[in-house]
């Protein structure tokens, strides 16, 4: 294997691993902040215990999200030096802004939240977790504006043998970036909601602390319902944007080979890349694909054959990733709707089958999120910046195969180990349930002097 392929595998592995932790951070920070605010307003210690319990799981997960994020920022220079030289003038800015505006805020106030229970007032303490939540979400915005630029480059000119920024506002208001942001953010919210519902379901099945976990479940179900409905909306707009700006990705997502007007939406497709056709197309809804993509049932959808084979993304993996992700997206709406209804009727304890289902559903949003990124990144190939720079021209020239083999082996080993430890700890603390001893927090409130 060459350094290019190895570097791609390494980026995929480290990014996928990073994205195991990020979505839970995005959503759970908000859920925990909400719980702590309820405590501050109502003085009901149940909410404090909730913030503490879910907060602990949040922290175990947060640590790995942060450290694996450093890798991402270093890797552009280490493995993708030609990319960094070529687009750094415009691509570096959102990354640097992310660190300055968001990451500092997040990392500084997480310290106050963890260690500050007795040091600051209840209100200030709740504000600190809100700041963490806002900062993680803001952090995602800048990263996804950067990724949005790779999908649909805007606000630059080609000058001095590179892409130079000429319009910062264009980068900032890139619709592709904002759709990416809403889509990713909402998927993180859904994931966190399913995480809280799943863990709560586990305890409810064990008849452990029913009041605590029914309340947690109810909060998560409503949050998850709102997020999953909005996620479908964001996803639909996102797909339209893909159809508009990335015809090869869209054709691969839907496995469309021949350009056609008034394209049907086939519920069942099996792509056959070798023969440039689908070996099965069934249950078609006439004109529906054209309607979805362009709000016009007769609109033309460009087929993959329109483009030379070397400019097409891998079709089968893009197609199946997209289909499974989208199907899961609809499933999340149904499941959180049922969860909202049952928990609203206070009937969770009698719905043991549903609880079991929700427990086993914990991994589903993780799978959907990973598949979504596969669609986004595989579907963009062979481009690293769509239409502007090929992935094969972006890799570092000075990095040797043996160096990447060593680093890839190192990452796989280290990340594998960390994942094992993290899952062990998350399981341990999730099973343990909430801590009733609040004496360490409640003994003092207000400031202490030296």
């Amino acid at each position: 294997m060459d350094a290019l392929t190895l570097s791609r595998i390494q980026f995929a592995v480290t990014a996928a691993f990073h994205f195991i932790f990020v979505p839970l951070t995005l959503g759970l920070s908000i859920i925990v902040a909400y719980m702590e605010s309820r405590y501050v307003r109502s003085n009901d210690e149940m909410y404090l215990k909730m913030a503490k319990f879910w907060g602990k799981l949040f922290l175990i997960n947060f640590a790995l999200g942060v450290v694996t994020g450093i890798t991402m920022e270093f890797q552009f220079g280490m493995n993708w030096a030609e990319y960094s030289k070529y687009v750094g003038d415009i691509f570096g800015a959102p990354l640097a802004i992310e660190a300055t505006v968001a990451f500092f805020l997040e990392s500084t106030f997480i310290g106050l939240w963890v260690f500050g229970w007795n040091k600051v007032s209840k209100k200030v303490h709740a504000v600190s977790i809100w700041l963490v939540a806002v900062a993680t979400n803001l952090s995602a915005l800048w990263i996804l504006l950067a990724n949005g630029w790779m999908q649909k480059p805007v606000g630059y000119v080609l000058r001095n043998n590179r892409a130079e920024m000429v319009d910062f506002m264009a980068l900032l208001t890139n619709p592709y970036g904002w759709l990416k942001f809403s889509h990713t953010l909402l998927s993180g919210y859904v994931l966190a909601a399913f995480f809280v519902m799943g863990v709560s379901a586990y305890h409810l099945l064990k008849k452990n602390r029913p009041e605590f976990f029914k309340k947690s479940f109810r909060i998560a179900a409503r949050f998850g319902l709102a997020a999953s409905v909005l996620l479908i909306v964001a996803g639909t707009f996102h797909a339209e944007r893909v159809a508009m700006t990335q015809p090869t990705k869209f054709a691969a997502m839907e496995s469309v080979w021949d350009t056609q007007k008034g394209a049907a939406y086939n519920l069942l497709i099996i792509p056959d890349t070798k023969n440039e056709r689908n070996s099965l197309e069934a249950f078609g809804i006439p004109n529906f694909l054209s309607l979805l993509a362009f709000h016009d049932g007769n609109a033309e959808i460009k087929g993959l054959k329109e483009f030379p084979a070397e400019e097409r993304p891998p079709v089968a993996s893009t197609f199946f990733s997209f289909r499974i992700m989208a199907a899961l997206g609809f499933l999340f709406v149904i499941m959180s709707l049922i969860g909202t209804v049952i928990s609203g009727r206070d009937d969770l304890e009698n719905s043991r089958r549903f609880l079991k289902l929700m427990f086993f559903a914990i991994p589903l949003p993780y799978i959907a999120g990973q598949l979504g990124w596969l669609v986004a990144e595989l579907g963009r190939q062979p481009w690293i910046v769509y239409g502007l720079l090929k992935t094969s021209d972006a890799v570092s020239k000075s990095v040797s195969v043996s160096q990447v083999i060593a680093s890839l082996a190192g990452f796989t080993l280290l990340y594998g180990l960390l994942a094992a430890v993290d899952i062990y700890l998350l399981t341990k603390f999730a099973k343990k349930g909430p801590d009733d001893d609040l004496s360490a927090i409640l003994k003092v409130s207000g400031n202490q002097e030296v």
Binding site: R159, V399, Q403, L425, A440
Partner: protein
């Protein structure tokens, strides 16, 4: 002033502040297993920088991000040429961050011992390797039209290693002073004793470094041209002596501030000597990466300047506020009885 020069200064500031801040928690991390005689003391040492290390490390990310945004060519070549060294720093910092968070999550001696080893490696290796990397940047790295002519072992030359040792000692003194400020009793006394003793070693290595710099690098060129800049290394030397002076008077907080100033000015001694290079080439000066041939466009630099001018002061303000909230000394009893900390 040209934007490139503004960003060169900011680049130096970001690295200097990073070394000053993460320096004390890396130093305390190096010392944790040796200074802490029992579990309570080991935990107390970690607890002194628990609320801060995360925020401190972001200065590194910002330094990296700023290099990317302001000097993309330097970012690309520096990170790909120093691939293996950076990888080792990365692995160390990942391991360390996780170790700090997870160490106290399981009640088991073996578990904690394992993470303590990770904390030591994760603190020592970055300190050493940042020094090695900067030593090599100061003397230039072998690069020309055909790229980089070297390996990880090229970096491990005498001057690179000397700078690495200098960084380890700077951080060790810095970290032990921090512990002398933040703890009391037996632990505090031990920390101040380590600070006092390691200072002598630091002094010797610092003198060797200043001498070797004259032979191994072109850093003094800028100083000879503009002797007024000698003020910066002069402050560094004074601050270094100040550490001892204040430590002898048991004014450890002032000694710690003096150590902060030492790290800031040592970094700037190097940065001023580098100008206008970011990374000189040791084999062909035409291929040195300067702030002019490797920078972003003036437009990008202007946008980034606006962002930095607005947000960096805000960051500094809230970080100072957090330091003030957690400014009190810690006792081992208090840490052991606190379930909330790690």
């Amino acid at each position: 002033m040209e934007f490139q020069i503004i960003w060169f200064i900011l680049w130096g500031v970001l690295w200097a502040v990073y070394f000053m801040l993460d320096g004390f928690d890396l130093g305390a991390g190096i010392l944790q297993s040796f200074l802490g005689k029992n579990e309570g003391e080991k935990r107390t040492i970690i607890r002194t920088f628990g609320p801060f290390w995360d925020g401190n490390e972001v200065w590194l990310l910002t330094a990296g991000g700023a290099t990317f945004a302001a000097f993309p060519t330097t970012y690309a070549l520096m990170f790909s040429y120093l691939y293996t060294a950076l990888l080792l720093i990365l692995f160390s910092l990942i391991l360390r961050g996780v170790a700090l968070e997870f160490r106290n999550k399981v009640e088991s001696q073996g578990w904690r011992k394992g993470w303590d080893v990770a904390i030591f490696i994760g603190s020592f290796l970055p300190a050493l390797l940042f020094g090695v990397a900067f030593g090599n940047i100061f003397q230039g790295i072998p690069m020309d039209a055909n790229g980089y002519h070297g390996t990880l072992f090229t970096l491990l030359n005498p001057y690179g290693i000397l700078t690495g040792v200098l960084f380890v000692l700077l951080f060790t003194v810095h970290g032990s002073l921090w512990l002398a400020v933040k703890t009391n009793g037996e632990l505090g006394r031990r920390a101040s004793s380590v600070a006092g003793k390691s200072w002598y070693v630091l002094l010797v290595v610092a003198v060797l470094f200043l001498i070797h710099t004259a032979f191994a690098t072109d850093l003094y060129g800028n100083y000879i041209q503009n002797p007024v800049w000698f003020a910066v290394p002069a402050v560094a030397v004074t601050a270094l002596l100040g550490i001892k002076l204040f430590a002898l008077k048991t004014r450890y907080l002032t000694a710690f501030y003096s150590s902060c100033l030492t790290i800031l000015t040592v970094t700037f001694t190097g940065v001023i000597g580098l100008y206008p290079n970011l990374i000189p080439s040791s084999i062909d000066k035409d291929y040195s990466l300067t702030i002019f041939n490797s920078s972003s466009s003036p437009y990008t630099l202007k946008i980034m300047t606006i962002v930095a001018v607005i947000f960096v002061p805000v960051v500094i303000a809230y970080q100072i506020w957090i330091y003030r909230i957690f400014r009190h000394k810690l006792t081992v009893d208090e840490v052991v009885n606190d379930k909330e900390s790690y």
